[in-house]
């Protein structure tokens, strides 16, 4: 796990999603740890633009050769963009989880929810506990 990167400018969930906040918009994806655990991602199901998501609730699914996992929204708000490139190239989630493998952009309805998320150090400590 030493080689895995957890950028310091992101916030993390205990369900292994990350969020990068710029202004009132958060970009969401899954962490390097999550994609490593899943193995080769073969399908990503994302909600349509305009969907209202709630913090901690499912917004989509990710399917790998091993398993299917739910994706959980780190914060509440409206989906204003989804990464349509993942339809044809789900492998981007494995290759570039914090970049081209992003999944949705959420217009935050309650930015205070960000305080409940983990920073990079806390997330790594959480992983060390064996999650």
């Amino acid at each position: 796990m030493a080689e895995m990167i957890f950028p310091a400018d992101l916030k993390y969930t205990r369900e292994h999603e990350w969020i990068r906040v710029e202004g009132n918009v958060g970009t969401v994806g899954i962490t390097a740890f999550a994609q490593d655990q899943l193995g080769d991602v073969v399908f990503v199901e994302l909600p349509p633009v305009g969907t209202e998501v709630k913090a901690g609730q499912q917004f989509g699914t990710v399917e790998s050769v091993k398993t299917v996992s739910d994706l959980f929204a780190p914060v509440s708000g409206k989906v204003i963009e989804v990464n349509t490139a993942l339809e044809k190239s789900p492998e981007l989630v494995n290759q570039d989880p914090y970049g081209q493998g992003w999944m949705i952009k959420i217009e935050l309805s309650n930015p205070a929810e960000l305080d409940a998320l983990l920073d990079a150090a806390a997330y790594q400590a959480f992983l060390k506990e064996g999650h």
């Binding site: 655990q37 080769d40 073969v42 399908f43 050769v65 091993k66 398993t67 299917v68 789900p90 492998e91």
Partner: protein, 493 residues
Amino acid sequence: MSGQPRSVEPLIFEISRPGKRAYSLPRLDVPAAPVEELIPAEYRREKPPELPEVAEVELVRHFTRLSRLNHGVDVDFYPLGSCTMKYNPKINEEVARLPGFAHTHPLQPEETVQGNLELLWNLERWLCEVTGMDRMTFQPAAGAHGELTGILLVRAYHRRRGETQRNKILVPDSSHGTNPATAAMAGFEVVTIPSDRQGNVDLERLKAALGPDTAALMMTNPSTLGLFDTNIEEVARLVHEAGGLLYYDGANLNALLGYARPGDMGFDVVHLNLHKTFSTPHGGGGPGGGPVGVKKELVPFLPVPVVEKAPDGRFYLDWDRPQSIGKVRSFYGNFGVAVRAYAYILAHGGEGLKAVAEHAVLNANYIQARLKDYYDLPYDRRCMHETVLSAKTLKETTGIKTLDVAKRLLDEGIHPPTIYFPLIVEEAIMIEPTETESKETLDRFIDAMIRIYHEAHQEPEKVKAAPVRTPVGRLDEALAARRPDIRWRRDEG
């Protein structure tokens, strides 16, 4: 790491040559009528279909060779966890093929199929006795179908009582994926309950999740960890106090036959997998059977028809059930599967069924005891009919993953166990030997697992390259899933 295919059987289209035939018809002895006169133009093909053209001997050899690439319980060990791949005694097949069973038509008058109805009536009573339920339907064609039927019964029960606010179904995090899928399909919201450190349902988290919106808790006991939930009576009490029902996923009933009954633990609805516990063929060799049993409060909602016995001893199908959820399948389910289960139960008797459970549990514990020094045992408890090990430490020390271990087992002629399930165990290896395997077979499997463990430390490359003795090597599963190539086209062939 995609290995080159070693001896791939060509597609039948690839051995096709124009003009070859696998049949010859006798001379036409009636006047020939042009197809234009017989079939209206809009239903006629413009071009003949592109069917493969081969001689009979080529046809037979092609499919015989394909059949030899198969792995099944009749070929070798098949310890696929939670699937109960036990050997299916051949007498079941013989009985199911008796003309009185095999050649009946589902629309025959009742008086001409009294024996068939009697069989269903008896089997229902036997399975109710095994599970502690009051009545049962044989309509569902498989386990997941049984789950959906069972949850529709739960929904009908709450609706009848006017409790339409009960829109949540709880499932433990160790549950089969079909449980939450069933709940979602039946229109419920799914709430996952974590397991505690013993692998039981976490009682505090369960209490917190229960409420006036709880429709049911779906449980497999023993769970997919192969562990019996020792708090089951407390779980049942809590769910019932909240006004919910308890649903039993019968996938793992093999462990309990004759020793414990879901009905006595407090379960209200049970589905069975006849193709697991009662030795009828699985999947492609199926079809399956997923009977659903219920306690008396839910009997009015059972699918129609149900088999009844008149005071004069005559059997009949009762369609007059106004509260029934209706039909969930054509006719009465997969009748031939019921015949096989009937034969199996008759052959074993009560003591024999208890012995099934005893040997299933003994075999799993033997494997667990012999392998736990090599593979991690995340829940170190006496297991039931299956044991869940993990290659977590092996992966950390050697880089050899559960997937590699599974692939290497193929070289031993053994079907790998279920892997990466249950989801709460990292690098999970879920082994269910079943009662039908001898100590010699178990030892051969265990020795292979130990050999792979040592190989992982000494020659990891060999394990990563496995399998090498199968018709094809390691396939690119990701590419196959991302860009499936499953259709032959003439221009590409």
